[in-house]
Amino acid sequence: MVTPSEVLSVLQMIDKQKLDVRTITMGINLLSCASDDDERLCQKVYDKVCFSAKDLVRTGEQIEKDFGVPIVNKRISVTPAALISGGMKNHVRLAEALDKAAQTTGVNFIGGYTALVQKAQTENDIRLIDSMPEALSVTRRLCGSVNVGSTKAGINMSAVRRMGRVIKELSQRTSQIRGFGCAKLVVFCNAVEDNPFMAGAFHGAGEGDLAINVGVSGPGVVASALEQVKGMPFDKVAEVIKRTAFSITRVGQLVALEASRRLNVPFGIVDLSLAPTPAVGDSVAKILEGMGLEVCGCHGTTAALALLNDAVKKGGVMASSRVGGLSGAFIPVSEDAGMISAAKIGALSIEKLEAMTAVCSVGLDMIAVPGDTPEETISAIIADEAAIGMINNKTTAVRLVPVPGAQVGEMVEFGGLFGSAPVMPLSRFSAKGFIEREGHIPAPLNSLKN
């Protein structure tokens, strides 16, 4: 039987420490929709998404009510668009069809305007990538991603170069909303096929027809648990984080199984990531500071994050029958109140963030940079991140927002869960000659495991 103290502690986690299920994401396979006729393809895609996800939002809301735990987002991920659009003349129409389906089903984002070009790109991949600035600026709920590298394949530097240009163009096309279009585009190395989190969610080619993937969150719960071990050695810190991650992940597992049962869709994975929001008390930076750092970004931050990321995984693995996605700690600058204030006072630099990405679950995320940053510099940042991912066998990502007209230090407001961020300084020295080489960085020796 449940004890009163357990009930009270769960209520406190939900009410005070902002424990929530960040997203229920339904993966939908669109391979059967391929067609060489634009209109036919778009209609098939729209119909399939709307039919498959017709009960998703309602079911999510009912589960929220039954268990009394907030489920913040209901989302859809689809087969990478590049895999079904080979015969298309105008890719933007597919983007619009996906956006419309998202609107009809009531989800807040749909992900999968995606190309996987880690080794090489097809002619269609290029056309899809080149359509991204228009596709992601004329739609509201569509998210896109491009995988430019992997440990197995190396880094496609031609795609890296192209993405610098695409990001700049997308920023200019959405200049009236301060380049916000770029928040819907991620460049990956070692992208995962079952990630439920946006903007990088897509339903990989190795997935089934449908899947329910759930992302849990709860940095506030971890931060408050750490108060019990103030001043104690790290062994104790790791134990507390593991125990907390276990409890948080159990909520995700329960919601995932329940959603899967009610929707009659196979359960995919639980992604046990600590995803912050700009709300006070929902910050990953505050966890790191809770370990004794004066401010996130000072020396010691990388070690603190490494411990956190690892302990979250260890606690979570035991709590779920299937763990996947990105699973770890996210460090999106604009979406984390602690990161925002650390960046504001100059304690958190892009160089430190880059080091942190080597030990956390993703990468350089939601960072505002000056609008006049050369495209080659953006490509070079992508190349650096991809290299970290490739060599360390992990997912890395880049989601930069060049803010048109903004200079270093200026605060940029994105609104809602996307928060706000100070425009961060980048190196003023050029990587132009490096990026213009194009071609392919070979896969590292550690890819040869067979």
């Binding site: 039987m1 449940v2 357990e6 209520l11 009510k65 268990f67 009394g68 735990v69």
Partner: protein, 92 residues
Amino acid sequence: MEEKKAVVSVLGLDQKGITARVTNVLYMNDANILDISQTIISGYFTMVLIADISGEKCDFDRLGEELSLLGETLGVQIKLQRSEIFESMYRI
């Protein structure tokens, strides 16, 4: 019939008749009380009640609405949640 359990939690300033009124709502909604525990922590009334809600006439959503309405009237927080959420977080 499969047993469905829910947890009712009541948090707020102590006043006369809270328990009576909460349990009355449960009774009127065909829910059977399995366990009840209450305590006062520094003037705050805290009650946790576990009920079987598998009764034929028991509608979870309606019960939840009536309880939160009662909470508003009494100026306390009353929540109705399926018990699995608590069980899963602390048990394997």
